[in-house]
């Protein structure tokens, strides 16, 4: 049973389109992180959200942490081919050490 679920699993869009990907759980997390992973590389941290309801913006990327700290979304405006990659969410429970990763959303942005 996946502790964190991500949707959609795959997404292929044209350059310039907007998109939203989701990270959901039945568990409460003390913090949640989003990563992007490119083929043959390790994940790279994009953002950490800690407070329920928190919204963070990183250029064309907007991240939101749900009020109940069980879910999160990532919205990309005007997607570019450089946004292509595997987007992973990872949650930490009870301020522990272990990060639990979701299965990821594989995004392909076509020029």
């Amino acid at each position: 049973t996946q502790l964190l679920e991500q949707s959609p699993q795959f997404l292929s869009i044209q350059e310039g389109e907007n998109l939203t990907v989701y990270c959901n759980s039945s568990s409460v997390f003390s913090s949640l992180q989003w990563y992007r992973q490119e083929p043959g590389e390790g994940p790279v941290l994009l953002v950490t959200v800690v407070t329920g309801g928190e919204v963070k913006k990183l250029k064309r990327l907007t991240f939101q942490f749900g009020d109940a700290r069980k879910d999160s979304s990532l919205h990309i405006t005007a997607a570019q081919p450089g946004d292509t990659g595997l987007y992973l969410c990872a949650g930490v429970k009870n301020y522990g050490q272990n990060f639990v990763f979701g299965p990821g959303t594989r995004l392909s942005v076509l020029p």
């Binding site: 003390s30 043959g40 390790g42 950490t48 050490q97």
Partner: protein, 116 residues
């Protein structure tokens, strides 16, 4: 730049062989994590070190998996009597702080292990 490095990048092993995977964290980073990433999946936590102390090894799938970080810097993940289900990418990450919750984890490129 002095990021996290891992070696070898690729390893092919015959079933039953022992393998050793090396991780060189960023200099001065206190925390070190090992993850296993199966094809098409997200990374799964294996074990965590704070300096040389292995504080959590709850994610190691069996007693064939062993990790060490004897001097608090370089770490080695050893898999004994490899099985086909061990085929995966093994990722190492390090972070500055003693608690990893809010600190950035810097990942290495991973070692891709294929067991035939």
């Amino acid at each position: 730049g002095a990021g996290v490095s891992q070696s070898p990048r690729y390893k092919v092993a015959k079933r039953g062989q022992d393998v050793a995977l090396r991780c060189d964290p960023i200099s001065g980073h206190v925390s070190l994590f090992w993850y296993q990433q199966a094809l098409g999946q997200g990374p799964e936590f294996l074990t965590y070190f704070q300096n040389e102390a292995q504080l959590d090894k709850s994610g190691l799938p069996s007693d064939r998996f062993f990790a060490e970080r004897p001097e608090g810097s370089v770490s080695t993940l050893k898999i004994q009597r490899t099985q086909q289900e061990d085929s995966a990418v093994y990722l190492c990450a390090s972070s500055r702080a003693r608690t990893g919750v809010w600190e950035t984890q810097y990942f290495g490129p991973g070692t891709r292990l294929l067991v035939l």
